[in-house]
């Protein structure tokens, strides 16, 4: 199993470690998932996301190439700005969802999910050579080993980070990048995240990661594991590749269709020809049972309408929330369905995510 540069910090804090996408990662600290979740909603928490992949796309055609390869529009990015995006396959589905940052004019940093780095790299490297509309004059390379990545999230995250870095962060708007130093160490901050809260993702040198982590710990930022990361992103209504999105899911049939911009993109024609016979929806359940991945969604007569992709009980609101792919006919806000939990139908209402807005 691979270890991030922060592995020993997690072990020293008595984190419960699990295998995740080939990495040895903290699922939670002794604090527990609900308290970690609340720390992010009410104060500030930090996550080691160094397992995620960083790919560099560089060259005179870098913008044109990423515009062809990804569903959002990188041409809209100014230098030092990022956007959420998706990488389509040739079957109307997705290879991964991504964050795309423009560094300078024709140099981009693409952040991919840990489990998909290899597939994203292989796809981009093949697509850059393919014609038409390529070949593109651009190179795609894996920079993952060059970066450690921490996410600091929560209403007090910006204040806590601001005290530690040289730059003034008040002018750094959402989705903007800034290069600065943290206690003398070079860091790159991106004002974004995966929890719905304000905060930063901090790119730093692997050799500095433990020192950055400890400074944040001293600043009162709560260490949070992958468990809280999952409950937070679900409550904020963000998808997780492998659950809500996969090689067979058409993003046009999801609440994330806004990502798809009107321009030529590899695979987009297939995606547009696909009918939305099923749609991705949010569900709010009665009671506190958890609708887990794979559980069946039923109508009043007990007919199977689809399946849950993720579910949890929010430690903040105590609401039982889920996302599910269901028959398009029933995918209307306010429609009452049920989720089969341990053989019993539990009433659920179709509710557009997010389930919580800070």
């Amino acid at each position: 199993m691979r270890k991030t540069p922060l592995h020993d910090e997690h072990v020293a804090l008595n984190a419960r470690m699990v295998e995740f996408a080939g990495w040895h990662m903290p699922i939670q600290y002794p604090t527990g998932i609900p308290q970690e979740h609340l720390a992010v909603r009410q104060d500030a928490g930090m996550f080691d996301v160094s397992h995620m992949g960083q790919l560099r796309v560089l060259g005179p055609d870098a913008t044109a190439f990423l515009s062809w390869a990804t569903l959002n529009d990188p041409a809209r990015l100014r230098p030092a700005q990022g956007q959420y995006s998706m990488l389509p396959n040739d079957r109307g589905g997705l290879i991964d969802d991504l964050y795309v940052y423009r560094d300078v004019d024709e140099s981009f940093l693409v952040v991919a999910n840990a489990a998909n780095v290899g597939a994203v790299l292989a796809h981009l490297q093949a697509l850059v050579e393919a014609s038409p509309p390529g070949p593109f004059e651009a190179a795609v390379r894996d920079e993952s080993d060059g970066w450690a990545l921490l996410a600091i999230q929560g209403p007090t995250a910006a204040t806590k980070v601001d005290r530690l870095v040289a730059a003034d962060l008040t002018e750094v708007r959402k989705n903007r990048l800034i290069d600065t130093t943290l206690s003398g160490m070079p860091v790159r901050l991106a004002r974004t995240g995966y929890t719905g809260e304000d905060g930063f993702e901090v790119f730093c040198r692997p050799v500095d990661a433990a020192a950055v982590w400890r400074l944040l710990l001293e600043a009162g930022v709560t260490p949070c594991g992958l468990g809280a990361r999952d409950t937070l992103r679900l409550e904020a209504g963000f998808p997780l590749y492998g659950h809500e999105l996969d090689a067979g899911s058409n993003p046009l049939c999801t609440p994330f269709a806004w990502v798809v911009k009107d321009k030529p993109v590899f695979g987009l024609d297939v995606m547009r020809r696909g009918e939305c016979r099923r749609r991705l929806v949010g569900l709010v359940l009665e009671g506190r049972g958890i609708a887990r991945d794979g559980y069946r969604v039923l109508d009043a007569e007990g007919r199977v309408l689809g399946r849950v992709t993720s579910g949890t009980v929010s430690p903040l609101t105590r609401m039982s929330i889920a996302m599910a792919w269901v028959d398009a006919e029933h995918a209307t806000d306010g429609v009452r369905l049920s989720v089969e939990i341990r053989g019993q139908p539990v009433p659920a209402t179709v509710t557009p995510p997010p389930f919580y807005r800070p």
Partner: protein, 128 residues
């Protein structure tokens, strides 16, 4: 491992108090709550239900997983811990006290002595 000597245990991580007037109190062990993580929901049996030894009687659900809880002894459910419906986290904070699940009027009070004692349970739990 926290396994009080006055209780008896099952290999499936339930505990039971010694029968008093034929009534035993059932819960899950400290080891079990630690493995489950933060409990968010419990399903308790109906009062009056008759349970066979080893029958699925309750469900304890954590953020991570849902786990069936089995009746360690045969008997009739006489009381459930309704406080857990609003505060299921008592299972994590007080597994052998406030986190109790239900009480059984046992059919055979002598069967309790045949359950695992603290040392026997600790050995089973450590093996995983």
């Amino acid at each position: 491992m926290n396994t009080p000597d006055h209780l008896r245990f099952t290999a499936s991580h339930e505990w039971a108090t010694e029968p008093a007037d034929g009534i035993v109190t059932i819960g899950i062990t400290d080891f079990a709550q630690d493995q489950l993580g933060d409990v968010v929901f419990v399903e308790l049996p109906d009062v009056g239900r008759s349970l066979a030894a080893g029958e699925a009687a309750a469900v304890v659900e954590s953020v991570k997983t849902a786990s069936d809880i089995y009746a360690p002894l045969a008997g009739e459910v006489v009381e459930v811990n309704a406080a857990l419906l609003d505060a299921p986290e008592a299972i994590n904070t007080d597994a052998y006290g406030g986190g109790w699940l239900f009480r059984l009027r046992v059919a055979d009070a002598g069967a309790w002595g045949g359950m695992l004692d603290a040392a026997g349970y600790a050995a089973v739990a450590e093996e995983g």
